[in-house]
């Protein structure tokens, strides 16, 4: 019963969520002394004085998208996915802020499907939000980034996993707390190699998203010495996600689809939209583990991750949000913690010192990953260990022992500096120092 939400969440109505939102905004306005609102420009110094806390305004922009209904009811997306992670990080920052005389606020802007995300970002920036978390597809993220080019605005990509955003389409004003697909593929591949499961039979979807995932998988296989014995495409067009008699049909379809493959250790599924992947475990022709986008998966966070002090994070989150903490929540949490950490270390509420500190060498964040996490200088990607997990429990954390790197073993995950295609353009890169 993976990802089963506690009763309190399952019965949470839209009404109560709206209440939460209302409370959130009330708190926001109550927390803003009028003086601070007047000093919204970044040029206005926000030095800490004993009377008035330094104010750091953080924006959160979500571009809503039309998602397919998940095959499993357990995977229904919580309405406050990501947002709850941001909110608890804000609480953490403000707990620390009591001691440093700093105050953090969070303004959430949710852009409906086909809404104008650029206008929403403009509004956030105009109201003094120069650090903005973005939960949006890659193309929207790029539009947002370009719309504030040259301005004192730092965006945190908390959700888009596309490798291109860290490569040819990298932007100096974007840092990525979401792991990219290359990191996830490498993390999974290292575990499979550690298990000596080197022969992979691939079942792949046909969407562009799946093609990109397969590029990362092929790269990982080559890097770490696995063999893809066959790539088989699943071409059946997706139909209704729910039906009364679907199960009997699937029980017949999946074995046939996976029949006659060359000898293999695992079935690796590349189906990011979850058209057929979740149907594969326990239904394959050969009795083999299912890994990839179904079965054993790589992720930044798992609701049952309890290593390295994560238990207390999970407990705090569940008490706060009345549901389990999911990867996007952690990706939002760490972005806001980066801002908070930079603010407390610099003793400032102003954009420049915080931005410089986040991009500098001194920033190190505790993320319940067993080691400090930091941003890679060459592409703005958060370097972090990746959890390998089944539906109920984490199985391992990559990098795996024995995958060596001259500087940091965690940089064996994803695109390393020498192979990076990212170059930040001149005007914005002065604070992005090469390593």
């Amino acid at each position: 019963m993976a990802f089963q939400f506690p009763k309190a969440f399952r019965s949470m109505t839209k009404w109560s969520l709206e209440c939460l939102l209302t409370v959130r905004f009330l708190v926001f306005f109550l927390c803003c002394p009028p003086v601070a609102i007047a000093a919204a420009g970044t040029d206005a110094p926000q030095e800490i004085d004993s009377a008035r806390p330094a104010l750091v305004r953080i924006g959160y922009l979500e571009q809503e998208v039309d998602d397919l209904i998940p095959l499993s009811r357990l995977k229904v997306k919580p309405d406050d996915l990501g947002i709850a992670g941001a909110e608890i990080a804000l609480k953490d920052n403000n707990t620390t802020g009591k001691f440093t005389n700093q105050q953090f606020t969070l303004e959430i802007s949710r852009v409906p499907v086909a809404g104008d995300a650029v206008a929403a970002l403009r509004k956030l920036v105009e109201t003094g939000h120069h650090f903005v978390l973005v939960d949006a597809p890659a193309d929207v993220l790029l539009r947002l980034s370009d719309s504030v080019k040259g301005e004192p605005v730092l965006l945190f990509n908390i959700s888009a996993p596309e490798v291109s955003l860290r490569q040819e389409d990298c932007r100096a004003n974007v840092l990525h707390t979401a792991p990219d697909i290359a990191m996830l593929a490498d993390a999974l591949a290292q575990y499979l190699i550690w298990k000596k499961w080197r022969r992979w039979f691939v079942a792949k979807g046909t969407s562009p998203a799946d093609k990109e995932y397969m590029e990362a998988i092929r790269r990982s296989a080559k890097r770490f010495g696995a063999t893809i014995v066959e790539e088989r495409s699943y071409k059946t067009a997706p139909g209704a996600r729910r039906s009364d008699t679907g199960q009997q049909l699937i029980q017949l379809q999946m074995p046939v689809f996976t029949q006659g493959a060359p000898s293999h250790d695992v079935l690796l599924v590349a189906d990011r939209r979850e058209i057929f992947g979740p149907y594969l475990p326990y239904r394959t022709w050969d009795p083999r583990p299912v890994v990839g986008t179904a079965g054993l998966q790589a992720m930044s966070w798992h609701p049952a991750h309890e290593q390295w002090g994560a238990t207390q994070m999970q407990n705090r989150f569940q008490r706060f949000a009345h549901r389990f903490m999911l990867p996007l929540d952690h990706q939002a949490w760490i972005a806001i913690r980066a801002i908070g950490e930079a603010a407390s270390r610099t003793g400032s509420g102003a954009y420049d010192p915080i931005n410089d500190y986040i991009r500098g060498d001194a920033l190190e964040l505790a993320a319940f990953k067993g080691q400090k996490v930091t941003f890679r200088k060459w592409d703005g990607q958060l370097r972090q260990p990746i959890i390998i997990a089944g539906p109920e429990l984490p199985v391992s954390t990559s990098p795996q022992e024995g995958f060596l790197h001259e500087h940091q073993e965690v940089d064996t995950l994803g695109i390393d500096a020498p192979e990076s295609k990212c170059s930040f353009d001149e005007g914005l890169s002065q604070s992005v120092k090469g390593e």
């Binding site: 953490d92 620390t96 001691f99 008490r319």
Partner: protein, 325 residues
């Protein structure tokens, strides 16, 4: 590594750790996953018994009279009081959720318990078993140091990255010192002049002047062949004469020895895997180190700076405390 340890063991047997008079003390080790305490005789270095306790025992400490062991049973949300004579649980104190480490006032009461989940330091009267005060501190408090004069408690908070100095009379936070990332443990020197704070993810130890409350030294570590990211200091102990300090370096699998006068690192002693906490015998001749991932404690002979033995424990040993009895 195994070879080196074996050599150390053989050497110890051959030379019988000459010149180190050892009294029989009793060593208590909390087994985080074993839900038990392993009890060890410090002279024979044999396991005497294993006592089942609450869920996920971590920080443990003998009461000042050595009659009870106080156990942070994190998943049972209580501090248990274990009678060392009868080896029975006498009481379960209202610690609040997820207690991790505690410390005791020099007078024997109250005790100070860090509640990681709740950003609180809970003060409990050991005689009446009542909560005297809950003090709001930073996010995820953990290490608790008490000054020898009992006037100051220093709590570290792991996500806020501060050492909070608290006045034990007024329960007010008087100073906040920003330290390296994820501070886990704080220890006053016996003369009360310094507070040593370990920062797990920064890989450093901050030495704070207890009067000015300023950091006077940040100690860094460099172990040949170990990547910097795995140097994760947790437990720290300073000898009473403030000549040496020992720091458990977590997954670096070493205990650092520091000249506590110059703050220079003198040596790195190879111990077991994932070394958490340290405790001296009362005569300060031996130091016990808990190795969470190899299920043993390493025994360090303090005058010689050698590791003489590893003693098997329950699963995932974490805390350690030594009785004079």
């Amino acid at each position: 590594m195994a070879l080196k340890r074996a050599v150390a063991c053989v050497a110890a047997l051959a030379f019988g750790w000459a010149g180190v008079p050892v009294h029989a003390y009793t060593v208590y080790v909390s087994n985080e996953k074993g839900n038990s305490l392993t009890v060890i005789d410090s002279e024979t270095l044999q396991v005497l018994t294993t006592i089942p306790v609450g869920q996920r025992p971590r920080g443990i400490m003998l009461s000042r009279d050595d009659k009870t062991v106080l156990i942070c049973a994190s998943d049972s949300n209580t501090v248990q009081v274990l009678d060392v004579a009868t080896r029975e649980i006498l009481a379960e104190l209202p610690s609040g959720p997820d207690p991790e480490l505690l410390n005791i006032h020099p007078s024997g009461s109250p005790i100070y318990v860090a509640n990681e989940d709740d950003s609180l330091l809970t003060v409990i009267d050991l005689d009446t078993e009542e909560v005297l005060k809950e003090i709001v501190v930073g996010v995820e408090p953990e290490g608790v140091g008490v000054s020898p004069d009992g006037k100051t408690v220093v709590v570290t908070s792991e996500t806020t990255n501060m050492a909070h100095f608290i006045d034990t009379e007024t329960y007010e936070i008087t100073d906040n010192v920003l330290v390296g990332t994820r501070p886990r443990f704080s220890e006053f020197t016996a003369d009360g002049k310094q507070v040593w704070v370990t920062s797990e993810l920064a890989g450093t130890v901050s030495v704070i002047d207890a009067d000015t409350r300023k950091i006077i030294k940040i100690i860094e570590f460099e172990i040949p062949g170990v990547q910097e990211i795995y140097v994760q200091p947790v437990g720290v102990r300073v000898t009473e004469d403030r000549s040496k300090a020992f720091v458990a370096l977590g997954p670096a699998n070493h205990v650092a020895v520091i000249d506590a006068k110059t703050f220079d690192v003198m040596d790195y002693l190879l111990v077991g895997k994932r070394v958490w906490q340290l405790a001296f015998t009362p005569d300060q001749k031996l130091l016990f180190a808990t190795n969470g991932n190899s299920n043993d404690v390493s025994v360090i002979v303090v005058p010689d700076l050698t590791v003489t033995k590893s003693i098997p424990t329950g699963t995932a040993p974490w805390g350690v405390t030594v009785s004079a009895e």
